[in-house]
Amino acid sequence: MDWSALSVSLRLAIFTCLFLLPIGIWVGRRLATAQFRGKGLCEALVALPLVLPPTVLGFYLLQSFGREAPVGQLWMSLTGGGLTFTFSGILLASLVANLPFAIQPIQRAFENVPHNLREAAWCSGLSPWQTLLLIELPLVWPGILSATALTFAHTLGEFGVILMVGGAIDGETRTLAIAIYDRVQAFDEQGAAQMAALLLVVSFTTLGVVYGLAGRRRWARG
């Protein structure tokens, strides 16, 4: 069993969720509540990372993360290190690749928050921030859980993008998904099956916990 790959996978999935959720909440809320021209365009843009084959997306990311490319340069000047073939690099790639998973469910959830609840919160003296925290977030909670589950699961399974940008370096960028792929490539079906089982157990547990939590809400709508 490849424990270091499991650890990389888990770290990657957890960090991706942590970074992506605030973004998802912010963007999803904007897309849900604001009315502006070109909103459809923005929504389509958000869904783009889904459309490109992972390896192709990875290829473009690899190019733009390079030392000579703008993103890579920026990162270099900020941290002094490179982006490609590092954990930070695959994390960034994973953030991009998971954008649609994080934003879409949250956006739909925000769209379903009746506007007069926001108004009631304002009239109760809650600032827009407090309204977000105390009223809207609890109401969009199922959507956030959905987003988390999708992002988490997809990051665990993601492979093309991560391989391309990360280069499968042991203990740093080699995830469990890559390890499984390698096993399959090497015709070690038993090893692959074992690792796949591990991956399934981890995701299943996480998803089960997440959906269990979601199912626990006692209140109902309407």
Binding site: L117, W122, R221
Partner: protein, 375 residues
């Protein structure tokens, strides 16, 4: 001035042309037909709706001044608002809903205070229910408690008692009256219950199609509506069409074949002018069969009973006068029995001269046509 003054004008999409004010400690009732803009005006006061032109001042602060592009956020206006559809937070229990506006208090005080408010609206024991587990009236009372808990500078109540039974309603009204003595803030109450408005309000403002037609104390309003339109909106019947005449050198009001004495109002009018007039039902006095009634000689009118509707202790009577108009008033049910009133019976009534209220400049036909409501 520390009072609340509201002015709002716009052509569309919701037409508004309203102006009213409310002193601290005073209760202003907004009444008007469904769709006349009552909720919209409350929302404008709360800062949830921005009319194209308008000015709202409260407690010396300017909350809205469209000319100066000034508008305070809802949070900074400190209003307690009961929404018409309650707008309870579905994910919070009744108690937590009420606790939310109490965030200015230190944490340990919030819970007891919220419990106290829930007790005020008679919901003790239901603190831990979610809104979906409450009946309509219970939800409404949670909304009321939440608005009161805000410690507001102005209280905006959008039909706050519409879903509660009469007994509870009476208690809540009493609670509201008590509250008014304790905290001296303007209270704006939207209601479709004119009795409630009359019983609770210091001032009533009548709205129609977004226009504020008249603002006055209830007694004044019910006795001297500004126009037949107002009278009709206030569900007053007894609005008639008359003509100014001169009989024996004194001005009289010609109504069918009667030339009525009028206590005041005829002086400024020209002879021959048509004028709408109104008589409060309390100024219609039924002559008793067995013995003379007081004021019997004042404007006696012969009529026949058209309709008798017994409503518990009171009975509503409609009399038809010879030229076709209908006089409506209420009398005690035992008086109906005593006078043996039944449909078709001929009776005499006096129309007290002091009650006759002239509304010059309005024809009776400018009745509120609700179709004008439509876009």
């Amino acid at each position: 001035m520390v009072k609340l003054t509201v002015e709002a004008q716009q052509a569309g999409p919701i037409p508004l042309n309203a102006e009213f004010s409310c002193l601290p400690g005073e209760l202003l009732a907004l009444v008007g037909p469904s769709g006349s803009g009552k909720t919209t005006l409350l929302r404008a006061i709360a800062g949830l709706y921005r009319p194209q032109h308008g000015r709202i001042e409260c407690a010396g602060d300017t909350w809205l001044d469209t000319q100066r592009q000034q508008s305070l956020s809802p949070q900074r206006r400190r209003v307690g608002m009961v929404f018409q559809d309650y707008a309870l937070f579905p994910h919070l229990t009744a108690l937590a809903n009420v606790q939310l506006p109490l965030r200015h208090l230190p944490t340990p005080l919030r819970r007891p205070k919220a419990e106290q408010w829930l007790e005020t609206v008679r919901l003790k024991g239901l603190e831990n229910r979610y809104p979906s587990e409450l009946s309509g009236g219970q939800r409404q009372r949670v909304a009321l408690a939440r608005a009161l808990a805000r410690d507001p500078q102005v209280l905006l109540l959008d039909e706050p008692f519409s879903a509660v039974d009469q007994v509870t309603r009476r208690r809540l009204q009493r609670e509201l009256a008590r509250l008014r003595q304790q905290i001296s803030i303007p209270i704006v109450l939207v209601t479709h219950d004119l009795e409630e408005a009359a019983a609770l309000a210091d001032q009533i403002c009548v709205l129609h199609n977004g226009n504020s037609l008249q603002q006055a104390p209830p007694e004044t309003l019910f006795r001297t509506p500004a126009s037949p339109n107002v009278a009709r909106l206030l569900d007053r019947n007894n609005v008639f069409d008359g003509q100014v005449v001169e009989v024996d050198g004194t001005r009289r009001l010609q109504w069918g074949r009667y030339a009525l004495d009028v206590a005041s109002g005829l002086e400024g009018l020209n002879v021959g002018e048509r004028v709408a007039w109104y008589l409060p039902p309390s100024d219609i006095v039924l002559h008793r069969r067995d013995r003379p009634s007081q004021g019997e000689r004042e404007n006696p009118v012969a009529a026949s009973v058209d309709e008798i509707i017994v409503l518990g202790g009171m009975t509503s009577v409609a009399l038809r006068v010879p030229h076709g108009d209908m006089l409506r008033f209420d009398i005690a049910t035992h008086a109906v029995r005593r006078n043996q009133l039944t449909p078709g019976v001929a009776v005499n009534v006096s129309l007290l001269a002091g009650g006759i209220h002239l509304m010059p400049g309005h024809g009776v036909d400018t009745a509120p046509d609700e179709k004008r409501n439509t876009p």
